[in-house]
């Protein structure tokens, strides 16, 4: 118990240190820096991956609907925060749309700009998640009765239906049809501007803070009695039911919570991209998130976070050179746009085939534990050295 408390403390300190590091980096690096882009995008994907992991890794429900829920989140967030003055321009084909308020603007009028911005964005994100969750509930009623692969295909199909639905012209006044949503409150609005120049950069820090809070909530759910019930369902449905766990209720709970956070992740993605459109939320996006979960370890929250950073970093940044023709070995013209993704997917296949447990397996990264592990290695080494010396002395 004492050890657990200690390790919790170490973890909290580690996360705070990470946040401070990100804050400092954001002030010192140019805002176009690749590192910041990767940190932002991977934070969003980490949240999406953890929400998927809650469902796939902890409850054992193989669902492929994540992109659909993210799409709902992105659209709801966008619709709620476009300033009234810009609505006519954004919804130019639909007479300015039917929503004629912006939560951020409304709250800014009452509470002042700073509080209005923070509260407005948070409330919009929560509404975005809640609507995704509500839809998950409605869809879950019939779908969650399906088992295994059928659930996977049904959720995949649901995501496609959602995508078609949001592009439907008849819903244009609400969703802007197949046109972009834009001009809503985005991450850069958090930067503190003095005299037309950015004085303090906060966009990355705020994003990481929100993601960290969400992941913390998911972790708390996983460690609660509900979380234990989820794991019991994953390990053996029949046994779980025999122990008095209400299968339908807990599956639904896991599905809705997962959709809620996927919706929040979608809202954050919209904030990051500054535009929202239904097109990119294809099944390929779900597959990417699933692969992040697999690489991190199915059933490991920290694994998902870690692998989100590695996945996004590798695909957006570290493997970039593979796309550049100037790095070609003369006579061997294999490097050109697209080669990066080929190499990347081969690496993923190798992980999927030969390292099925991923980076973390079902374990969690634990700073205190990591320290102990390091210590153990050193003491082992010392012990080995001592043993060797002893052997020498005896011999």
């Amino acid at each position: 118990m004492i050890q657990k408390k200690k390790s919790n403390k170490a973890n909290i300190i580690f996360i705070l240190a990470l946040l401070i590091l990100i804050f400092v980096l954001e002030q010192t690096l140019p805002s176009s820096s690749m590192l910041l882009t990767v940190v932002k995008k991977s934070a969003i994907y980490a949240l999406a991956a953890v929400s998927m992991n809650l469902l796939n890794g902890f409850t054992g429900l193989f669902s492929l609907g994540q992109a659909g829920f993210m799409l709902i989140g992105a659209y709801v967030y966008g619709m709620l925060t476009i300033p009234v003055a810009d609505r006519a321009a954004v919804y130019q084909y639909f007479d300015g749309g039917i929503i004629q308020f912006s939560i951020v603007e409304g709250l800014s009028g009452v509470l002042g700009n700073v509080a209005g911005l923070i509260l407005g964005v948070l409330i919009s994100l929560i509404i975005a998640g809640a609507i995704a969750g509500l839809l998950a509930y409605l869809v879950g009623l019939p779908i969650l009765r399906l088992r295994g692969d059928y659930l996977a295909v049904a959720t995949l199909g649901f995501a496609e239906i959602i995508r078609a639905f949001f592009q439907w012209e008849a819903l244009g006044p609400l969703t802007n049809g197949s046109n972009l949503l834009r001009k809503f409150t985005c991450l850069d609005d958090f930067n503190i501007v003095v005299d037309g120049k950015v004085a303090v950069y906060l966009s990355t820090t705020v994003l990481v803070l929100i993601v960290a809070a969400c992941i913390l909530v998911i972790t708390l759910v996983i460690n609660s009695t509900y979380g234990r019930a989820f794991k019991a369902i994953r390990d053996d449905e029949t046994a779980a039911e025999a122990m008095g766990i209400n299968l339908a209720k807990h599956k639904m709970m896991s599905f809705v919570i997962s959709a809620f956070f996927a919706g929040v992740a979608g809202g954050l993605l919209a904030m990051y991209q500054t535009t929202a459109q239904a097109m990119p939320f294809k099944s390929a996006m779900t597959y990417e998130i699933l692969l992040i979960v697999v690489i991190g370890g199915i059933g490991s929250v920290t694994g998902s976070c870690l692998s989100a950073f590695i996945f996004i970093g590798a695909s957006e940044w570290w493997l970039r050179f593979l796309d550049m023709e100037k790095y070609n070995i003369p006579g061997l013209n294999i490097l050109r746009p697209g080669f990066r993704k080929v190499v990347f997917s081969v690496v993923i296949m190798i992980i999927v085939l030969f390292f099925r447990k991923g980076i973390m397996g079902e374990n969690e990264l634990n700073i205190a534990g990591f320290g102990r592990w390091l210590k153990q290695i050193f003491t082992k080494k010392k012990a080995a050295v001592a043993a060797a010396e002893e052997g020498k002395n005896n011999g």
């Binding site: 796939n56 295909v153 592009q167 012209e169 390929a284 692969l291 080929v342």
Partner: protein, 294 residues
């Protein structure tokens, strides 16, 4: 009469698309029947067949290119099974499914690399892409050929499954994996043959499909693939005739919806149908009832 000429093209297109879905759906249903695996890469194999055709027909005459397309696609399907699924035979089913998704991702990215992301013009195959007139409606000859070719191929396949030794192996493996292993059936061979048949039919399907659609992009296989899977589920997964009937129903319904003017929902309809059938008759139209033993 006017009504017929107006609506016949949609019906013809529906039957034709249904036939193409049927050819893809068989690959899904057979693999699922034997391995209990949704082969997410099957749609991409279908796409790859289209791309191979594009590149081969650029330098070879059709009578060489078409057989080569069939052979190369079969080899691709065979290789996918050997590399990505065989090592995972004893792994949990979720791992195999993830591996299938990984293969799909890989094939799409390779296609993206080769094509440079541009849509490739599908060659118009002479004779097949000639226009013909049926009851006052003009259409390509491939539209007329597809349902007949599909039915011929399926009759042959059913004969293969019911009359030959390897077909008997397939039926045995799909009934009970473990027991057939004990009975001395070479399971790896049976599975390979399944993938070979599936890929072959997907290649034929792609020849017919792209003659009508002209453009091949790396992600073009995903949607027909998933729809064919829905068809397989609809008809009762594991059942070949079921998959074919399901595919024709989906193809026709989709085109009727397009005719009514709800094109946006023609894809969504397929999935709504899937969810509907899974809730009310999870085993599909012709599926076998399975009972769970504790």
């Amino acid at each position: 009469m006017q009504w017929i000429t107006n609506n016949l093209p949609y019906l013809l297109a529906g039957i034709s698309v249904g036939g193409q879905y049927a050819l893809i759906a068989i690959g899904y249903t057979m693999v699922y029947g034997i391995l209990r695996l949704i082969n997410f890469a099957h749609g991409d194999i279908f796409m790859a067949a289209g791309l191979i055709m594009v590149y081969l027909s650029a330098s070879l005459p059709f009578y060489v290119a078409i057989p080569l397309v069939l052979i190369l696609t079969v080899l691709l399907g065979f290789a996918v099974e050997r590399v990505a699924y065989k090592p995972l035979r004893k792994a949990p089913r979720m791992s195999v499914m993830i591996s299938a998704i990984g293969v799909s991702y890989l094939i799409q990215n390779v296609a993206l690399y080769i094509t440079g992301g541009l849509s490739q013009m599908y060659p118009s195959i002479p004779w097949l892409s000639d226009t013909v007139t049926v009851l006052g409606a003009t259409t390509k000859r491939v539209t007329i050929i597809t349902p007949f070719l599909t039915i011929i191929l399926i009759v042959l396949l059913v004969q293969l499954i019911n009359r030959t030794k390897i077909g008997m192996g397939m039926r045995a493996v799909s009934k009970d994996f473990e027991t057939s292993l004990l009975m001395g059936i070479k399971i790896d061979n049976v599975i390979s043959v399944t993938f070979i048949i599936g890929s072959f039919l997907a290649a034929v399907g792609s020849l017919l499909f792209f003659t009508n659609y002209t453009g091949v992009t790396p992600t073009v296989g995903a949607l027909p693939g998933i729809k064919a899977f829905v068809a397989a589920v609809f008809g009762g997964i594991g059942s070949v005739p079921g998959a074919v009937i399901g595919a024709f129903i989906i193809g026709i319904c989709e085109n009727i919806i397009k005719a009514v003017g709800w094109t946006v929902f023609s894809d969504a309809f397929t999935f709504a149908l899937l969810i509907f059938i899974l809730i009310f008759k999870p085993t599909g139209l012709f599926g076998e009832k399975t009972t769970d033993k504790v």
